[in-house]
Symmetry: C3
Subunit: 325 residues, 3 copies
């Protein structure tokens, strides 16, 4: 963190030769292991600063356009808080469906308009590739906050950062992904990100919701040890990180099949007796029934702390692309 400035108008000199200055954050595939280590180091500094002073003026005078074509209270609030904890301002744009977009304006034009008003653009959009399209036309850095079934890189980064902060390291860990591994954007991105480390991954899911083979092959080529299971008991005892996702009824053609499997993917204090004492349970939230509220007070329940780590990661990314870290 730089020290405080003399000139209140320019609290910290723009570091235009900073490595991430002006960069877009579009996909987990853009990061090297060194990138992750840098991001996590900055995010850790953010954590220390927030715990010590709450808010500080690193991005004072900077403006974030928070452009959400579909609602997401959690992600939107997280970026808003990240910007405000850094002393910056936010232009909230949640009503896109009713406004110039419905009059037929293209995403490139919308982004070029916001270019004038903001210093960085966070984009949530239902279409795959929209963030890359926006980044092509924007002069200002674009951060992808989810483009449909495509990418949600800041979620994957916060997931990995949570593991790092909670367990001290990622190398050497056994990660178990549980639930709907077929449609879950977050588990796909996290698996790809973890492949930069030396981890073992277990996939536990109903037969029809298995991790897509192309992702398993991609990780295999990188030498990641992976196994597939339908029953959590087989891998829970050796698991360091249990990443839970919801098995949704609507994914099943036959409701009877759903009924027969659903209880196998619900985390309760009883189930967790078989797990280590030092391990963590994660979840991208919102959580419905797949983790019992009875487990919330267990120290291994990391899913609410995970939200907080998300704040630090987003603070780090904002500071980096604005040349302040």
């Amino acid at each position: 963190m730089p020290t405080l400035p003399n000139n209140p108008h320019l609290p910290f000199g723009d570091q235009r030769n900073a490595p991430w200055y002006g960069k877009d954050i579009l996909s987990v595939s853009q990061f090297t292991r060194e990138d992750l280590e840098y991001i996590f180091a900055v995010a850790h500094e953010m954590r220390i600063m927030v715990e010590r002073v709450g808010t500080f003026d690193l991005l004072k005078g900077k403006i974030l356009a928070n452009l959400f074509y579909e609602p997401s209270t959690r992600t939107s609030s997280s970026f808003t808080s990240a910007m405000e904890r850094l002393g910056g301002s936010v232009i909230p744009i949640n009503e896109v469906r009713y406004s110039s977009v419905t009059k037929g304006e293209s995403l490139p034009d919308t982004v070029r308009t916001l270019d004038c008003y903001a210093d960085v653009i966070v984009l949530r959009h239902p279409e795959v590739g929209s963030a890359a399209l926006a980044a092509k036309y924007a002069r200002k850095p674009v951060i992808n906050a989810g483009d449909g079934i495509g990418e949600h890189p800041t979620q994957a980064l916060l997931d990995a950062f949570t593991i790092k902060e909670e367990l001290g390291h990622i190398d050497g860990l056994t990660v178990t992904m549980l639930g709907d591994l077929k449609y879950g954007r977050t588990v796909h991105s996290l698996a790809r990100l973890l492949s930069l480390y030396k981890v073992k991954i277990h996939y536990v899911s109903p037969e029809i919701l298995r991790m897509p083979p192309e992702i398993i092959e991609e990780l295999q080529r990188k030498g990641i040890e992976q196994t597939e299971h339908t029953r959590l008991e087989e891998v829970l005892p050796e698991t360091d990180v249990l990443y839970v996702t919801r098995v949704q009824k609507e994914r099943f053609e036959d409701p009877a099949v759903y009924e027969s499997v659903k209880d196998a993917y619900v985390i309760t204090p009883e189930v967790m007796k078989a797990a280590k004492q030092r391990m963590i349970v994660m979840h991208p939230l919102p959580r419905v029934y797949e983790i019992s509220m009875d487990f919330d007070d267990d120290p291994r329940a990391a899913y609410f702390r995970q939200m907080e780590y998300g704040l630090y990661v987003r603070m780090a990314l904002l500071a980096m692309v604005l040349g302040k870290a």
Copy 2:
């Protein structure tokens, strides 16, 4: 008000031993008369500061999550302004119905998520008891901004503060509540709050919209002198505070009954000739036809100033629960 700090990151030391630090504001029934006097004293200081400097940095670096499950422009704007006039920031969350809530997230999880992002949570929710539920799970203070037909304590506080600021004191006053006293959340809460003072209360309403007997009994036990009327003329001349609410057509089974009574509950310059010169007319707003616009310029029309007092009360509460007052 504390003096200005040396360290711009920590403008005012957190007063963690301040009496209201971290407290929730959930119900009028939580306040003693001493509490009210403290709140009003802080709110009066806020008034002086706003009149003198407009905005000041008492809560610089603090973040308010303004969580509205149902829209209320007035209350939402009032809290936003209160936070901004104190130099703090706001995360506006108005679109809850479209976002993670519709994906089935529970209020406790939403609140625990916001816990990470904000320093204080203001909650408006259609269900009775929701604010207490939120407060149970939130680490940060929760301020109830209306939970259905339950409570709206900051409205009652601003009503009482209005009386205090406009007339100098509350003890000894004659307060007349007019209109729909059966369904009006604001008159119920105000009556309870006023019972901490030595007041006389007149209830004037159509027969079918009388003040609920349990409230009358509750105040009776506290020794409050109360009378019920159907005609305003009977009590207007001795009234110090006339609190007007709307008599809505839809409350009446028989439209003819509504037509026969409605004009008796409309305030006009003509009607007000019978009132004292030094008294005030209040209204929780929005006002429709129940107070004639012709009366707006009368110095006794306090309903717009009432909104302003609301700002000061909310500034006071925010500062108090954040340990800055």
Copy 3:
């Protein structure tokens, strides 16, 4: 721009005798040529400051109520950014249709409520005359951000400022307005504003979408040279400013007529070969097909820069009516 203050609470002394202090911005017809020159001078200073420092604290501690009864991402974001680049805060009010307005509150009461919370009110409303009505009741300055088919004065000001900044002057220019000149609020207001200068105006439109005769007569009385055309080729070569608007299908009773004329009002690199090298193409945005994206990289394409000039004009107006310029 004033220099920095000693007292952080009052960064710049209120200049209550400043010529625009407390004024409303309601209509282009309120401006003299001297007014425009003053606004443009302040807007130019804003441009220099934004390019140099991005954001500065001229309006620190001031609050803008951004009151939008109908959505307009572009205008709303522009005012939000303008306020934030000046260090001020914003109360965003976009959900008006769901809130107290739907409970029947009148615009005057809404405005008087916001009076307490904000220092300046920006109003977008679907009804003609609403801004004037709001200004009548508000103690704080009101800026009209579009009242139905009425006025949108800040759009006209930014259009004229764009011409001034891009071409250095307005006197002596030939301005061609193209497309739907009958229903286009922006071209009506711009024509009126340009009549304060010595310009020549060409109107190019389909027969059924000609500039209303009352506007042509109004400008004639002021000595403005005007000509009407249906074909752009007739005037493009001598045009200094080409102001493009969309010809919408729904304006035509007979679709065949629309099909026969529409291509004549589309700007492409090919069409623009006949234009000067030193001229500009403007558009109020959103743009759909009426300007080809192939033309966007041409230096004469000024429509995205136009958005940026809008930011400076709105910063200037906010500073002026708040007594800071």
